[in-house]
């Protein structure tokens, strides 16, 4: 097939993505340089006002808080996900696919429903508090729901399967000869793990971490439902600018900041992976 005909195959898809994603994103970026009218419309007056508002204390705090929540979610997802991936890899070969399948299965159910299930579990009268009280471990119910803690649990729960898959694929690509070599040279299992296995699987760890961070920092549903509608994260703030405050230009500038953070992280990851390999 000649080049021209091959390119015809690409046109519908690329055009659709260009018109309904790239163009709207360019629109949002340009909107962010205008200002909000008195009644919520857009006044086409070019300035950087919105970006100076982003770094105001109130908003900067939300931005930093989102980064903190996203960082902690990524960190703990990797911390809990790594041993899981490692133990799955160590399991007999015939069980490995089944175990991986069981890991991703919950992920296929609806995101809202999975988040709602955690509301039921973490509620003051919820299952976890009821069990803890009945076991006489605590007297008063713990206020877990509607805190940053519950948001982090929700994010870890939703993205853990990805992290496990990403680390598992890194471990399974590992050259077994290196591990044998380390053991032949007298390295203990623990030493071999920390000096050989772990450093060589860092690309998988980095991919998993960045993945959770990126999906968490732009998340809306989890902070909204498990955080109780407070402005815990930047996603809630953007939502509010578009639906309640009706300040589209400011919401647009927040979105742009969010996209920028994401691209920066993906860029860092690409450099990191290149450096390691």
């Amino acid at each position: 097939m000649n080049t021209l005909k091959r390119n015809i195959l690409l046109i519908p898809g690329l055009a659709w993505i260009f018109i309904f994603l790239i163009l709207p994103c360019i629109l949002i970026i340009s909107l962010s340089f205008f200002e909000r009218g008195i009644y919520g419309g857009i006044v086409y007056n070019f300035n950087f006002e919105n970006y100076s508002r982003v770094v105001e204390f109130t908003y900067l705090k939300i931005l930093l808080n989102s980064s903190k929540i996203a960082f902690l979610s990524g960190f703990f997802a990797v911390l809990f996900g790594y041993p899981a991936a490692y133990f799955i890899y160590k399991a007999p070969a015939k069980y490995q696919i089944a175990l991986l399948f069981l890991v991703i299965l919950p992920f296929w159910s609806n995101y809202l429903i999975r988040t709602y299930a955690w509301m039921v579990l973490l509620n003051n009268q919820g299952l976890i508090n009821t069990i803890l009280i009945n076991l006489n471990i605590i007297k008063e119910p713990l206020n877990i729901l509607y805190t940053e803690f519950s948001v982090i649990i929700g994010l870890i729960y939703n993205y853990l399967p990805f992290v496990i898959l990403s680390i598992y694929s890194s471990i399974s690509k590992l050259d077994q000869n290196l591990i044998e070599a380390s053991k032949d040279l007298g390295g203990s299992s623990i030493k071999t793990f920390f000096l050989v296995t772990l450093p060589l699987t860092l690309p998988g760890v980095a991919a998993g971490f960045i993945f959770v961070f990126v999906l968490s920092i732009g998340n809306f549903i989890t902070p909204d439902l498990l955080g109780g509608g407070k402005f815990l994260m930047i996603g809630n703030l953007i939502y509010d600018q578009f639906l309640s405050a009706r300040d589209w230009p400011f919401g647009a500038s927040l979105s742009f900041v969010l996209i920028f953070i994401m691209l920066f992280l993906l860029f860092l990851q690409a450099i990191f992976v290149r450096k390691i390999s």
Binding site: M1, N7, I8, L9, L10, P12, G13, L14, W16, I17, F20, L21, I22, P24, C25, L27, I28, L31, A84, F87, I88, I97, F101, L102, I104, L105, P106, W108, S109, N110, Y111, L112, I113, R114, T115, Y116, A117, W118, V120, L121, N123, Q125, G126, L127, Y157, S169, V214, G218, F220, I221, L225, G235, I238, Y239, F242, S255, L258, I259, M262, L266
Partner: protein, 256 residues
Amino acid sequence: MKFNKLYLLLLFCFLYMPIVVLISLSFNKSGLPTVWGGFSFEWYVKLFQNEKIFKALTNTLIVATVSTLIASTIGTLLAVGIELKKVRNNIIEGTVFIPMIIPDIVMAISLLSFFTLIQFTLGLHSIIISHVVFNIAFVCAVVRTRFNHFDHSIIEASYDLGAKNIVTFIKITLPIIFPGVLAGSLLAFTLSVDEFIIAFFTAGAGSSSTTLPMLIYSMIRFGVTPEINALSTFIILFSFIILFTSLRLNKESVIS
């Protein structure tokens, strides 16, 4: 070795506890999460009598079916186009990657602003257009995995034997990648059935184009009714059935 097993056991408890709790609560007569009032199908009966849910379900199925049909056609062409190129083109691959990584909320507000600017009336059709955007990317990604073991020489053999482009595509390429197309379509369908934020922003005012996730969100956000447990159970089972089907069709692409 015992520690390994214990750790994995705890992991699966963590992953499955919320789902098991929801499913068991859907049979709880009392409707409360903490009091077991006995086994009953009451909430399932109520669910089937709820007309709002049926309307939302119909909307969701329309959106998911139409957007899947469009996206699987366009996405497959895109995948074939990319894979048949001899040199990699980073700009094209990057463009196709964007819909998968952009935060939903950013995509949602961008589309809302765009539709408002061009004065496009919002409704089910605008949700469909928006869902096609990310579905194209996912269909394309799944179909491309079918090319991993693709022997390009059979295409050349087909040309040598005098077959034209379209004949070669229909008789050779398509049958080989077809399991990938089906698996990609099922993935697109599930993603579209589950998608909430983009639908929420591009549905427009009024309840006529409310989809199921939008209804679930408002049920969760503004007063929980026990019917939601029954509804959740249905949706969970439905998603799992789709996943099993998809896995059977295309073993490698879902796991890897």
